[in-house]
Symmetry: C2
Subunit: 249 residues, 2 copies
């Protein structure tokens, strides 16, 4: 029997550099792919500037609405890194030196190099649990259902492994893709029928351009492989009748 | 004298494929960069699934909070494209055939090819104004302060030119970047001082790794070039005192 527990999450991207267009966010895709693999569905993403009130309000809404919230960005040493103090305020917790984080960074740096700027990175909400950082020392932290990660993509990726035992997901979300040499409007009606017959399966249709040719990828997502298989065969049925070429599946 | 009008916007990305991690959103960065160039600051981005209630609620909040809202995605011919009907509902408008859009697509396609799937793309909220699509025919639309664009990045880009006379921005947001061969914690205190001295300028600090070396880019943003110049010279002052190499500016 399937556990059939639905677990959801929101991602909160903190940083002016995303809103200005200067930096292309890639953490959403990294986090969402990883969360899906452990049975957690991302239901919403928000990007907000480095402004305390905005972070506090948004975080308080998201953490009460979703099972988990993952924040990225704003935990470095400079003046525009205000995630830890904002999370403290959102939870009504003291913003203080985390003793374990202090020890970690004190031994990570050479004697004399653990300066004031770096010491900012050990200030966290009281009761925060550390998320270890195998890449660059400075840990992230979690508090209740909120997990605060850095904005630098390679560092964020290296920290996900350490989160596994802190997060409980549901059934992994499975997906299957069928790529067709067609255009969306040729299959729209048939696909609508398949979606109506399979209401609890998520069916997406995505046009693509590849090597100068148009195509459509149909993506089917569910926790249940047999439901995906059923959709797949209904799709392949109408594809065959319409004499559409299957490019990849 | 500067106009000094602050105009802001939100971006609403509609699509399960972004939330699942399958597709990497690039439209935020495209739109934000373009909006900055015409004097509009993006204050928030939200990504929501293809679910009518979620789109309606989110859109109604954003359009009342920000000067402009730009949506991307969900205006194609398939069952998962529900932006136009959701926008109709959000505004309490009829969802109906847009006569001009019908004419455009009728003449765009060969006789007999303007099928039912394609005709879905001319259903819009009543009173919608078209946003012409020079790439693939099917237009976007605007209603009051809401502008609905497609999700395919190349098509979205091709439609921005047609928006210019429909949108009134403020002073263009200027920016300047100084890249230094240093690490953030070495300059954090000095940079905090510069930010305190220049409160209405946005100063961001972004670590980078390039050709095996660490560095920090400092990005200064303001509508006012002389304020940017003042920050720049304060930063170059402390950089010189600390004997930090300037990599690029």
């Amino acid at each position: 029997m399937s556990k059939n527990i639905k677990v959801n999450a929101a991602i909160l991207i903190i940083g002016n550099e995303i809103l200005s267009g200067r930096t292309q966010d890639t953490n959403t895709s990294t986090l969402a792919t990883w969360l899906n693999s452990i049975g957690i569905k991302v239901d919403e993403v928000r990007v907000v500037p480095d402004e305390e009130n905005m972070i506090v309000e948004t975080l308080n809404f998201l953490r009460k609405t979703y099972d988990y919230v993952f924040t990225t960005g704003g935990i470095g040493p400079t003046h525009d890194d205000i995630t830890a103090q904002s999370v403290s305020k959102a939870f009504g917790k003291k913003y203080e030196i985390h003793k374990e984080a202090f020890k970690i960074l004190e031994s990570y740096y050479k004697p004399g190099e653990f300066n004031e700027g770096r010491q900012k990175m050990v200030w966290m909400p009281s009761d925060a649990e550390l998320i270890l950082n195998p890449t660059s020392g400075a840990p992230g932290f979690s508090l209740e259902n909120v997990f605060c990660l850095p904005g630098v993509p390679s560092i964020l990726k290296s920290m996900l492994g350490g989160l596994k035992n802190k997060i409980v997901g549901g059934e992994p979300i499975l997906s299957s893709t069928i790529s067709l040499r067609t255009i969306e409007s040729e299959i729209a009606n048939s696909l609508t029928k398949v979606q109506k017959d399979n209401k609890d399966v998520e069916i997406g249709s995505y046009p693509f351009f590849q090597a100068g040719k148009l195509g459509v990828s149909i993506v089917i997502r569910s926790e249940n492989q047999s439901k995906i298989d059923a959709c797949n065969s209904q799709i392949l049925d109408f594809v065959k009748k319409k004499k559409i070429e299957v490019v990849d599946r």
